[in-house]
């Protein structure tokens, strides 16, 4: 029998293939995809109703499909800001402890693969699934846009929307890794699901308030100078950026609204010489969100490393 010599990635492809197939065939996945597709179709349809009358005037009509909200529905990107964490968590919360519960972990880890190959294979499978779902949604939105407005997107619009998709993937990926981490930390999938959803709620609902409070404590406004106010606002923004949802909204804003020239508070003096309302070139928009993007990647790396360290030393008593 021929046998491969064991590299660190022995078995990675095998794990990936199996996990990916599992993800695609699961009932969980069907449910979430249905939810997301309905949401996407609904919000984009509503957006089209609103922007119909500006066809021909707005150079970025296609991008408006993503960002326009029509009361009482939030915009497509806002909905995704809410659904992507859910999808990421759903794809990862029982990745490791689920195998524990099914008593398959001992059997799998007595095969000649490293533990990181198992973990990384599961992560890659989740991320690929996310990418596939996002790709399908993009096609859906684009198709609807062309059909209902009759205007094809420009090259730059396609580029911007695809880059947004990449940001959305990173955002969903962060939550996937966080869920993966909890699935290593807790032996029970219910617990890890609750922990992941709790973390998400914390960042979505409470972190904004906490960041504001902390900013007041760190950079108080004593005399009311504009510099003081600005410093506080900047501190608050820095703190808010710990939350993945802040990073996601900034990426969304910069990529899908080309007229946005800066993220966060700016002094009027910084705006001098700029023509307000003129769109920023794509390269400038990209430059602006580069830190946000790397921040999300860093978040993924940190949580993956934590999960890896925990898992590496865990006792596998089936």
């Amino acid at each position: 029998m021929t046998r491969r010599e064991g590299s660190a990635f022995a078995g990675l492809g095998v794990v990936f293939t199996k996990e990916f197939a599992d993800q695609l065939s699961g009932a969980r996945m069907a449910l979430l995809v249905t939810l997301i597709v309905l949401t996407a179709a609904g919000t984009v349809y509503a957006a089209i109703q609103t922007i119909r009358n500006v066809v021909g005037e707005d150079p970025f009509l296609f991008l408006r499909l993503f960002t326009t909200a029509k009361e009482p529905l939030p915009s497509f990107v806002a909905f995704m800001g809410f659904l992507l964490p859910l999808l990421g968590i759903a794809l990862g919360f029982d990745a490791v402890n689920g195998e524990f519960q099914r008593r398959t972990l001992g059997r799998v880890l007595s095969q000649p693969i490293f533990r990181d190959a198992l973990l990384f294979g599961k992560f890659l499978a989740g991320l690929t699934t996310l990418a596939m779902v996002l790709g399908a949604i993009w096609l859906l939105v684009t198709g609807m846009g062309i059909l209902l407005t009759g205007v094809p997107p420009s090259g730059e619009e396609v580029a911007r929307s695809l880059l947004y998709l990449l940001g959305a993937l990173a955002y969903g990926g962060v939550w996937l890794v966080i869920a993966l981490f909890f699935s290593v930390l807790f032996k029970n999938p219910t617990t890890s699901a609750l922990a992941a959803i709790g973390t998400w709620l914390f960042f979505t609902v409470f972190w904004g308030m906490i960041a504001a409070g902390l900013a007041q404590a760190i950079a108080p406004v004593t005399y009311g100078f504009p510099e003081e106010v600005l410093r506080q606002a900047q501190t608050e923004l820095m703190l808010a950026r710990v939350a993945p949802n802040t990073l996601y909204s900034e990426i969304t804003l910069a990529l899908l609204k080309p007229e946005v020239r800066a993220l966060g508070p700016v002094l009027p003096v910084q705006l001098q010489g700029m023509v307000l309302g003129t769109p920023l070139p794509l390269s400038q928009s990209l430059l602006m969100i580069w830190p946000e993007f790397t921040g999300m990647i860093a978040g993924m790396v940190i949580f993956f490393t934590l999960a890896y360290v925990l898992f590496q030393r865990a006792e596998i008593r089936a």
């Binding site: 029998m1 021929t2 046998r3 491969r4 064991g6 022995a10 078995g11 095998v14 794990v15 293939t17 199996k18 599992d22 065939s25 099914r102 008593r103 398959t104 001992g106 059997r107 799998v108 880890l109 007595s110 095969q111 000649p112 693969i113 490293f114 030393r313 006792e315 596998i316 008593r317 089936a318």
Partner: protein
């Protein structure tokens, strides 16, 4: 030749609890070795350390000459492990589950299919092979588990309580399979507390107690050590002064009445000598029966002492 398993002062501590205490175990190649002991005596913990599924607190392990902590893949490529509660991916079929294991071992394509087919046949699972494992009975899962560890064509297999939850017929069949594997040259390490079964298949056994393995050997050896005599001869006879006469025979260790008969513990098979003294003493002899003491007797005597220790 290098031993299949060799440990040196292997120790596992969970906080204050010593689960395995300075274990020195040596299992030769081609041998069927039984780890025996009551619940919580450290059998499973020992097995996990042999596979690198938990880290030893102290001591050395060599499995097929390799260190499972330093070179886990080299060990896992050649060792099959059946956990005490084996689980499969329920929604996949038996065949698909085996295919995954084969792929993880770098075995794919036609060769994998042929091997899987042969193993399913050997385990009597051909009919169920393409049904989801969800629909399998406990015994079928256990046999699938055995097929699963054989996919990689291992040199050593480690089975933790392999007959747990099997009915007597299924357990018997399972042990037959293990016996056949031994004949194919495999080394088997088996943890169990079902004595009669262990006795049937194991060449040697090691008795665990509170994390220590103080007694190792073949069943007759252990019987001699724990019970004093390896041979028990049941003498059915009537007459005066038989007990004294039999006790005087060289090699007899102990004589005690049991019902209407006598049980003689002896160092060797003394049936002819006993028959002679009974007749010489004027007794009437109805029967002589040699019974080697079973493992359950050894076990009861050995762990009975422990309970006295503890009380």
């Amino acid at each position: 030749m290098m031993a299949a398993i060799e440990t040196q002062d292997l120790t596992k501590r969970y906080r204050s609890l010593v689960a395995v205490d300075r274990l020195n175990l040596r299992v030769e190649r081609g041998e069927v070795f039984g780890l025996l002991g009551p619940n919580g005596s450290g059998k499973t913990t020992t097995i996990l350390m042999l596979l690198g599924l938990t880290e030893p607190t102290a001591g050395q392990v060599r499995v097929l000459g390799r260190d499972p902590v330093r070179e886990p893949l080299a060990v896992k490529r050649r060792v099959g492990y059946l956990p005490d509660t084996v689980g499969f991916y329920d929604e996949l079929t038996g065949r698909e589950n085996l295919r995954y294991t084969a792929a993880l071992n770098g075995l794919t394509g036609r060769r994998a299919e042929e091997r899987i087919q042969a193993l399913l046949e050997q385990m009597g699972l051909l009919e169920a092979a393409d049904r989801p494992v969800r629909t399998y009975s406990r015994g079928m899962k256990q046999r699938l588990g055995l097929a699963d560890i054989l996919v990689k064509d291992p040199e050593l297999i480690i089975l933790d309580e392999p007959t747990l939850g099997l009915d007597p017929a299924a357990a018997h069949e399972f042990l037959e399979l293990i016996g056949r594997l031994k004949n194919q040259g495999l080394t088997v390490l088996l943890a169990s507390h079902l004595l009669e079964q262990v006795q049937r298949v194991c060449d040697r056994v090691g008795l665990f107690r509170k994390g220590r393995m103080d007694l190792v050997g073949t069943v007759p050896e252990l019987a001699r050590r724990v019970l004093g005599g390896a041979y028990r001869i049941r003498v059915e006879a009537e007459g005066e002064g038989l007990r004294e006469a039999m006790a005087a025979v060289p090699g007899v260790l102990h004589v005690r009445p049991e019902g209407s008969a006598w049980v003689v513990e002896a160092e060797s098979d003394l049936r002819p000598a006993l028959a002679r003294v009974v007749v010489q003493a004027g007794g009437r002899l109805f029967g002589l029966e040699l019974g080697t003491p079973g493992l359950d007797e050894v076990y009861r005597a050995y762990y009975g002492e422990v309970q006295h220790d503890a009380a």
